[in-house]
């Protein structure tokens, strides 16, 4: 059982931009989803956890080891998929994975080979293993990124926007792989796609403007909104007036008309219909409340 503890982490970049301000989290084995809009500070937090940058203040411990002063301990246990990455030219997928496996510390050649092949198969890259990674398409490259993050025996896997660029089938495969691994280790998944969290995560937090605005177990968070989410379909022209009159959580275009979700403890108006809340409503309601 691993434990990642984040205490009061802040990160201020040159120019006084506060990317993270006072983050506190405790994460156990299992999938943990970090949800938030672009620019909320998710990547900053992920990079800080991945020892790619030092926080301005605060403390991070992994299994009670301070990883800010001892980043090596974190790196020994880490699998990391950055949000955006490139590769060296003229090196095949197999060779590159093998190289990273060495860097991660797998010395036994056979073990390394088996694991690399297994990962290539599971990410559906096996038939491409001899091709140069630099010629891969976006989705293939993303799968390659996942494969390298799983090399070795990571106790903490950080994946930053992993499903961007994957088609539905690939995404499914990826989810299965992650959830399998997530039973034994911590998987920290950062995303702005609510479904990813809904499908996978046993725990989650929502970030906005460098802060954790809400965290908990998804089902519990959904339960809190029970009886407060109302739906209505309106004409496009009416949207502005609805937005001023009600607490509109989300809008969705549907056959030229707009479907509204509104947060309200009572029925806002006739024409609204009570629905069962889902995680998306949690997300939007958290962000709206915050604003």
């Amino acid at each position: 059982m691993s434990l990642l503890k984040i205490e009061n982490i802040t990160k201020t970049y040159g120019g006084g931009v506060n990317a993270l301000s006072g983050i506190n989290l405790e994460i156990n084995n299992g999938m943990f989803g970090l949800l938030g809009p672009n620019g909320a500070g998710k990547s900053s937090l992920m990079r800080t956890l991945a020892t790619l940058q030092e926080p301005t203040s605060g403390k991070i411990t992994f299994n009670d080891v301070d990883i800010i002063n001892n980043p090596q301990e974190m790196r020994n246990n880490l699998g990391y998929l950055p949000q955006e990455f490139g590769v060296y030219p003229k090196i095949s997928a197999y060779e590159l994975l093998d190289h990273i496996a060495v860097l991660k510390g797998i010395q036994n050649k056979k073990e390394r080979k088996n694991q690399v092949i297994a990962l290539l198969q599971q990410t559906n890259l096996y038939q491409h293993r001899k091709k140069h990674v630099s010629t891969f398409s976006g989705g293939m490259r993303q799968r390659f990124g996942i494969a390298q993050a799983l090399l070795g025996d990571p106790k903490l896997i950080i994946v930053d926007e992993p499903t961007a660029g994957l088609d539905p089938e690939e995404r499914n495969r990826f989810h299965n792989l992650l959830s399998e691994i997530g039973e034994h280790v911590i998987v920290l998944l950062s995303t702005h796609i609510v479904e990813d969290v809904r499908d996978l995560c046993s725990n989650m937090a929502i970030m906005g403007e460098g802060q954790i605005i809400s965290h908990g177990i998804p089902s519990e968070l959904i339960q809190q909104l029970e009886g407060q989410i109302w739906k209505r379909t309106i004409k496009k022209e009416a949207l502005a007036s609805f937005k001023t009159a009600f607490n509109v959580l989300s809008t969705q275009l549907h056959s030229g008309e707009i479907r509204l979700h509104v947060l309200s403890e009572t029925k806002p108006e006739s024409g609204f219909e009570l629905i069962n809340p889902d995680l998306e409503d949690v997300y939007f309601s958290t962000l709206t409340t915050k604003n």
Binding site: Q72, V87, L103, Q115, Q127
Partner: protein, 1179 residues
């Protein structure tokens, strides 16, 4: 308007780059420093900023701008790719032409700006300069403008066009580097081929080679040198390069190539093709593989074994990707081409250099000389590429989170960066061996080859570490590269100019071993100093390694951060490194500066000034002469030491009594005694003595004088004359002067003025001067010596071998002169083989290194031929022995002559005469030195102006006649053409206007080159027999003592020439006359009697150069030889009286004429000989 907006944007972008600013500053500084610190190569001309030098500087600056241009191209063209904005840029409405032109113009104008500012820096430099005002030209705008128009503007365009095209088409940084390296390589090839003064060439190659290269040299410098090679200093001051001939065609050719490159690039370039590299390959058929199930695998990155394993894996990945990359392969091919070319050049022996055996040491010298040129470039490029590799490929976030320690990452980069230059060395060694194999030479010396990794590799390794250090500090790869390049230039080629002299301050400089190898001793005594300096800088690099490791950037923050959290281990390492660095530095400092006097250029002048100020008063003292010298010379080769104990007799040969004797010692003496005298003082700084005689020494009275000295060569004060094998110690090195030495005085008028010394009087020269008394004349003495050396060596000197014995572990040799011989002798000691031959009653003994056996027979043959010719024509040989001793390459010159003994450099022993077409240098040098037994020794000229003319030009004359007898006219003609060029080049680079031949002081271009040409001219005029009669008479009259002057020579020449030719001989020897001969037109028609009538128009000019160096046209009236050749042979050869500037002759010959030649044997001092020959066309 969009276009201008874009250009403006480009400019803003470039000017914001830090490397741009650095370049501007560096180039302005270069311009200023070129003048204020008087760059050495500017000394080819007499004024630092005259038209010649401004042109040269413009050429050099346009060469240097290659680097900024390369960076601008990369920055300007690859930024869209680097910052992933290309898809945005290229999908805008921007048209291809607008994009193309705006980007190109930005790069071109940036390049042009950098060079123009450098020239502006030159202008600033001239206003700041505090050099001798005589060396600064008044401001002349045209002198700046014309080179700017003809060199800077076109070169900036050509470079920009080529690099722009290479970058835009390849979209690969390394291809741009390779293109730049290729351009440098081509320029180097040109410079090397023409023997450019920039590479230290003393005169340009033959006109055929120079004219070809003038067309192909990208920068136009070859044609600049072609045009200016023979200009006199005064002409250079005002000479603007003529936009004609090869230079014009060169400019047209390269501008056309540049434009073509742009045009082709424009055609090939397309926005759409950008991503073509990521084309998708068709999938192979689905492979069936056993399903592997993912299971976590325990990792352990922290064991020592794993660290080594990771380290190795990192090196492998980086090294493999470097080796496999196309640009690297291209660089290796250029490298091999450069090596092959220079190996071939050095061994094939073009012109009069003679071919050489492809020995390993020769190649090593070339490799070590070429390595920095190529290796440092590579180190600068690859340090940037390697350090920033993960970041520029956006792979850093994946690599940096692996549990690999900084030390392992850093170490792997360091190793790869060091391996890259090692690949160069390995390739060079293989090229060398292949070259030797191809030429059927199997004596390759593998251990010596391998030593290059150390002697050639160390400096590259040091710079690799330094570059890694810089790259780990800076926040931008290109900025790092610029800084590295700047430091390399500053401490390399420019170190003199920034006033750095002491070896401890010359960053990363180890002594160059390129010319430190001798077959006698290997690298010998240079190894120790090399090791010390290498150790010193290696420790310094250790400090840099530790710092760069501490500053190693990991993660996403690339800004430089001061890290203060030093661990105890790190602190200890740093502390001990600093301590060792201090100790080694201290040791070297102690040895170079305290134990051995470290002398800067300024301190040499200080010595001269003090000497003159303190002792000028003794200038008037009479100098006693030596009549008897007996020495005991003990040579200790294994200890690099010798000691001398000398007893001599001196005589007062003047008519007045002598009261004091002033002595100047060249090396400190341990004892100096003069009989019947008291020592008044000894100056331990200047090593001078004054003795007061107890009773005055009357005319022709004698005194005993004795002295002793010990000399040791140490690592920090190397004396090349005493080595483990092949010691060659000349008595001139240690025998003291018995008077005030006038040539210690500072000659340079401006330096004298600065130091407040009175100006030296300019003597108005008259013939009467030559009859004055020579202060340190060469006197003949009775000589005897006992030389001792280690028992495995043979020692010899001048004189008859009287006795030879062995005592203890030492060999003793006693020599005694049979009569009086010149007092300047040399002592040899080495492990020689001896070849002994008896010829005409003379014991010929050749002392040589056993491995240099190949040319022994040839040397004996030439020696016999020379003795034959000289005894038959000049008089009997004065000894019954002739010893030829091989000396090591450190002795410098090709050969030297002592009484009955000559020394020949080992370089000559390694020449090859297997190809009869190639010039026979062995014969040339041997004939020259052996004939000095007549010219210089049998006939010892008085040591006064003209002495060098007598001894050297006759030795050169002997070369001509004897080589012609042995090897024919064609080989001699090669030599004459070369000698003529040497004369004009020497004249062109002289610091003073040319003086007439008969009062030559020390000007080698006169004594050797002009003297040889003039004697050939006289030979053509009066015949070899007549000339030899005059020479023989000269020897008969003056072989008793050193009294002959050039006037005596003239008297003898007048004796054998008709009256009307005296004027011509005076013109040649007593005045400075040059010619301009040319064949204007030549046609022939067939006559009825089956003969051919040639009509030839000849133009001829004669010039007189006055004392201030100005040339005036004078009239001509003299016979000059005209030669006509058919396809196969000479069909006409006769002198024609030339007495008009334009003249026509009719010549009738028997066969169809092919070409006609005026002065075919190069006897006239004609600057341009290419128009002396012409095809004869049928009418």
């Amino acid at each position: 308007m969009l276009f201008f907006k874009l250009l403006q944007f480009e400019w803003k972008y470039h000017s914001k780059q830090r490397s741009f600013i650095v370049f501007l500053v560096l180039f302005i500084l270069y311009g200023i420093l070129a003048i204020t610190s008087e760059f050495q190569f500017l000394e080819i001309s007499t004024m630092y900023n005259d038209a010649f030098n401004l042109n040269l500087l413009s050429g050099l600056i346009s060469l240097g701008v290659l680097f900024p241009c390369m960076f601008f191209s990369i920055n300007g063209l690859l930024r869209d790719q680097n910052y992933k904005s290309e898809e945005i840029i290229f999908s805008t409405g921007l048209t291809k032409s607008t994009f193309f032109i705006s980007r190109f113009l930005a790069i071109f104008s940036g390049t042009l700006l950098v060079c123009s500012l450098a020239i502006f820096g030159v202008f600033i430099g001239t206003t700041l300069s505090n050099s001798n005002p005589e060396t600064i030209h008044v401001f002349n705008f045209l002198h700046y403008l014309w080179p700017w128009l003809t060199f800077i503007l076109p070169n900036a365009f050509i470079l920009s066009a080529l690099l722009f095209s290479a970058t835009l088409l390849s979209r690969n940084v390394l291809i741009t580097y390779s293109a730049a390296v290729l351009i440098i390589g081509l320029h180097w090839f040109s410079a090397f081929s023409i023997n450019s003064p920039l590479l230290g060439g003393s005169s340009l190659s033959s006109p055929e080679i120079v004219s070809q290269i003038s067309l192909t040299d990208i920068f136009g410098l070859a044609s600049f040198f072609e045009q200016t090679q023979f200009l006199t200093p005064i002409e250079k001051n005002e000479y603007l390069i003529s936009f004609s001939g090869h230079f014009l065609w060169n400019r047209i050719l390269w501008i056309a190539i540049g434009s073509m490159a742009l045009f082709i690039t424009y055609k090939l370039f397309s926005f759409r093709k950008i991503n073509s590299s990521s084309k998708k390959s068709v999938l192979n058929k689905k492979e069936v593989a056993n399903l592997h199930v993912f299971v976590p695998v325990k990792t352990n990155a922290n064991t020592f074994r794993m660290k080594i394993f990771t380290f190795w894996s990192l090196i492998k990945v980086d090294f493999k990707s470097t080796l496999k990359s196309v640009p690297f392969l291209a660089l290796i091919i250029i490298w091999i081409a450069m090596l092959g070319f220079s190996f071939n050049y050095a061994t094939s022996g073009i012109e009069v250099y003679g071919s050489r055996y492809p020995t390993t040491d020769l190649f090593l010298g070339l490799i070590i000389e070429l390595l920095p040129l190529f290796g440092l470039l590579l180190v600068v490029f690859y340090s940037g590429e390697l350090v920033w590799k993960t970041r520029s490929h956006k792979f850093a976030e994946i690599i940096d989170v692996t549990p690999v320690q900084n030390a392992v990452f850093f170490g792997s980069k360091l190793v790869v960066l060091i391996l890259i230059p090692m690949v160069l060395i390995l390739v060079a060694i293989l090229t060398g061996i292949a070259f030797q194999l191809i030429h059927g030479y199997f004596e390759f010396n593998i251990p010596l080859y391998l030593s290059t990794f150390y002697y050639g590799g160390i400096q590259l390794m040091l710079y690799a570490i330094f570059c890694l250090f810089v790259q780990s500090m800076v926040s931008n790869k290109y900025l790092g590269m610029v800084i590295c390049a700047a430091v390399i230039f500053l401490f390399g080629p420019l170190s003199d100019s920034i006033g750095l002299e002491h070896p401890l301050l010359l960053f990363n400089n180890v002594p160059s071993m390129a010319r430190a190898y001798s077959d006698f001793t290997g690298y010998g005594h240079y190894i120790s100093i090399f090791n010390w300096m290498a150790l010193y800088w290696i420790i310094f690099s250790g400090i840099l390694v530790l710092l760069s490791y501490k500053f190693w950037k990991r993660g996403i923050d690339t800004r430089f951060k001061v890290k203060t959290n030093w661990s105890f281990k790190e602190k200890i390492s740093m502390g001990s490194l600093l301590l060792i660095f201090g100790c080694v530095g201290g040791f070297i400092f102690y040895n170079t500066t305290i134990v051995n006097e470290y002398i800067t250029a300024d301190e040499v002048y200080d010595f001269n000034e003090n000497y003159e100020r303190k002792y000028k008063k003794y200038d008037t003292l009479t100098v006693p002469k030596l009549v008897y010298v007996s020495t005991k010379m003990d040579i200790y080769p294994s200890e690099n030491a010798y000691s001398v104990s000398a007893t001599s007799t001196i005589i007062n040969s003047s008519s007045t009594a002598m009261n004091e004797i002033f002595v100047t010692a060249k090396t400190p003496l341990s004892l100096l005694q003069i009989e019947n005298s008291t020592q008044v003082f000894y100056d331990s700084l200047l090593h001078t003595y004054l003795f007061k005689l107890k009773t005055p020494l009357l005319s022709n009275q004698r005194l005993k004088m004795s002295y002793q000295l010990n000399k040791k060569s140490t690592s920090f004060n190397i004396d090349n004359s005493i080595t483990k094998n092949g010691s060659y110690i000349k008595s001139a090195q240690f025998s003291p002067f018995l008077g005030y030495v006038n040539r210690y005085e500072i000659r340079d008028a401006y330096e004298r003025e600065k130091r407040g010394l009175p100006l030296l009087k300019n003597t108005v020269f008259t013939d009467a001067h030559l009859s004055r008394h020579a202060k340190f004349n060469f006197e003949n003495v009775t000589f005897e010596t006992i030389i001792s050396t280690d028992n495995n060596q043979i020692a010899f000197s001048s004189g008859q071998l009287v006795k030879q014995w062995q005592t203890g572990k030492r060999n003793y040799f006693q020599y005694k002169s049979e009569g009086k011989i010149d007092h300047l002798v040399a002592y040899f000691s080495g492990k020689y083989h001896i070849e002994k031959v008896m010829h005409r009653g003379i014991n010929i003994e050749l002392y040589y290194l056993p491995k240099h056996y190949r040319n022994v027979a040839e040397m004996i043959k030439v020696t016999k031929a020379t003795i034959d010719y000289c005894t038959e024509n000049f008089g009997g040989y004065p000894h019954n022995y002739l010893r030829i001793g091989e000396m090591s390459t450190f002795a410098g010159s090709n050969g030297q002559a002592m009484p009955g003994v000559i020394s020949i450099n080992e370089k000559i022993f390694k020449k090859s005469i297997e190809n009869p077409e190639s010039f026979n240098v062995i014969a040339r040098v041997l004939v020259h030195e052996i004939s000095h037994q007549w010219w210089g020794l049998l006939l010892t000229p008085k040591q006064i102006e003209g002495a060098l003319f007598i001894s050297e030009s006759f030795a050169k004359y002997s070369e001509t006649v004897i080589l012609e007898k042995l090897y024919g006219k064609a080989m001699v003609n090669k030599l004459s053409a070369y000698t003529l060029r040497k004369y004009f080049t020497g004249r062109s680079r002289a610091s003073h206007p040319e003086v007439p031949l008969y009062i030559t002081a020390h000007e080698q271009y006169l004594a050797y080159s002009k003297g040889a040409i003039i004697l050939n001219a006289i030979r053509e005029l009066i015949g070899e027999k007549q000339l030899n009669t005059a020479l023989k008479n000269l020897i008969i009259k003056y072989d008793k003592g050193a009294t002959a002057t050039s006037l005596n020579l003239l008297e003898e020449l007048y004796q054998v020439t008709s009256k009307e030719n005296h004027v011509l001989i005076d013109d040649w020897i007593k005045r400075v006359i040059t010619y301009d001969l040319s064949i204007k037109t030549a046609t022939y028609k067939k006559l009825k009697n089956n003969k051919y009538e040639i009509q030839v128009a000849i133009s001829s000019q004669r010039y007189h150069t006055n004392k201030s160096g100005k040339e005036n046209v004078i009239e001509i009236n003299e016979p000059i030889t005209i030669r006509v050749n058919s396809k196969t042979e000479t069909i006409y050869l006769k002198p024609h009286q030339i007495n008009k500037n334009q003249q026509e002759f009719t010549i009738v010959v028997d066969k169809i004429p092919e070409y006609i030649n005026i002065d075919p044997f190069f006897t006239r001092l004609d600057r341009n000989v290419s128009d002396n020959i012409k095809m004869i066309l049928p009418k």
